[in-house]
């Protein structure tokens, strides 16, 4: 079986699920962020795959680049928040930072 669209999509799905699992189970904020990165990567694989197999133009890749850009922004802000939280609470356990709850 030649490598086709389905292969890439399944790969993306697996990556997505792993990311999801990470986000769901980890209590460490940085790990959660890593999970998010996995999810974003899986989405990008889908974009590029569709661009390659379905549309035949590079629009999908453009979106992938936008996603990468957003991921960079998200990582910067997210990690900054993590650092700020660490300074404030001296932990980055997401469960410990539930001050939104009264």
């Amino acid at each position: 079986m030649a490598i086709g669209l389905t292969h890439y999509l399944v790969l993306g799905a697996i990556l997505f699920s792993l990311g999801l699992y990470t986000v769901l189970t980890r209590r460490n904020a940085i790990s959660v962020l890593m999970g998010v990165e996995l999810i974003l990567n899986s989405a990008n694989i889908n974009y590029v795959a569709f661009s390659h197999f379905s549309s035949g133009n590079v629009d999908g890749q453009i979106y992938a680049i936008f996603v990468i850009m957003l991921a960079a922004a998200e990582a910067a802000v997210g990690l900054a928040i993590v650092l700020a939280i660490f300074q404030l609470f001296h932990t980055i356990d997401v469960g410990a930072v539930e001050t939104l709850k009264e």
């Binding site: 890593m34 453009i62 910067a76």
Partner: protein, 166 residues
């Protein structure tokens, strides 16, 4: 099995394997380093898909930027000398169940959907085309993106700087 197919499976395996390390490793340092494999693997996948520019961007930004950021964050928030570097996980069972259900659904969707096929699959350099698009039909999103990045940058600096308590 062709060589290309073999290499695809190899790259995919590296990607998935390191992603699994990220997901399951108990040590956050290992997790962070495994992320390198995932990112590199995904870049490889892009190469397979003929997306040379995106692959390059992937390496530059993810590996060169985000990963380094994450490592910095890990280092800054843990004393590296600590024996126990916590990477506690909780609620594994429900998470596994949810994820399993989810992936099943995804795979089913992938199988059942009649995907549109392109007329021909080409492998040409895409950098020029992407550049053109950015300055023509995607000019506005492109400019907005720069604004978002600027905002994120300022936001990150504001958030991360140390408060000087009076």
């Amino acid at each position: 099995m062709e060589l290309a197919t073999a290499i695809f499976y190899l790259v995919a395996a590296v990607t998935v394997g390191s992603a699994a390390m990220v997901a399951f490793s108990r040590n956050i340092i290992y997790s962070a380093f495994s992320l390198l494999g995932t990112f590199a693997g995904v870049a490889g996948i892009y190469v397979f898909l003929g997306a040379d520019f995106v692959a390059a961007v992937q390496v530059l930004i993810y590996v060169g930027g985000i990963l380094v950021l994450i490592l910095f964050a890990v280092m800054l928030t843990h004393r590296i000398t600590d024996v126990q570097i916590t990477n506690r996980a909780a609620g594994r069972i429900p998470a596994l169940v949810m994820v399993a259900v989810f992936i099943a659904l995804l795979v089913q969707t992938i199988q059942e959907t009649p995907w549109v096929k392109a007329k021909e699959i080409v492998y040409v350099p895409t950098t020029g085309a992407i550049g053109d698009l950015f300055l023509q039909s995607y000019l506005l999103p492109f400019e907005l993106a720069s604004l978002v990045l600027l905002a994120a940058l300022i936001g990150a600096v504001v958030l991360a700087r140390k408060e000087i308590k009076e």
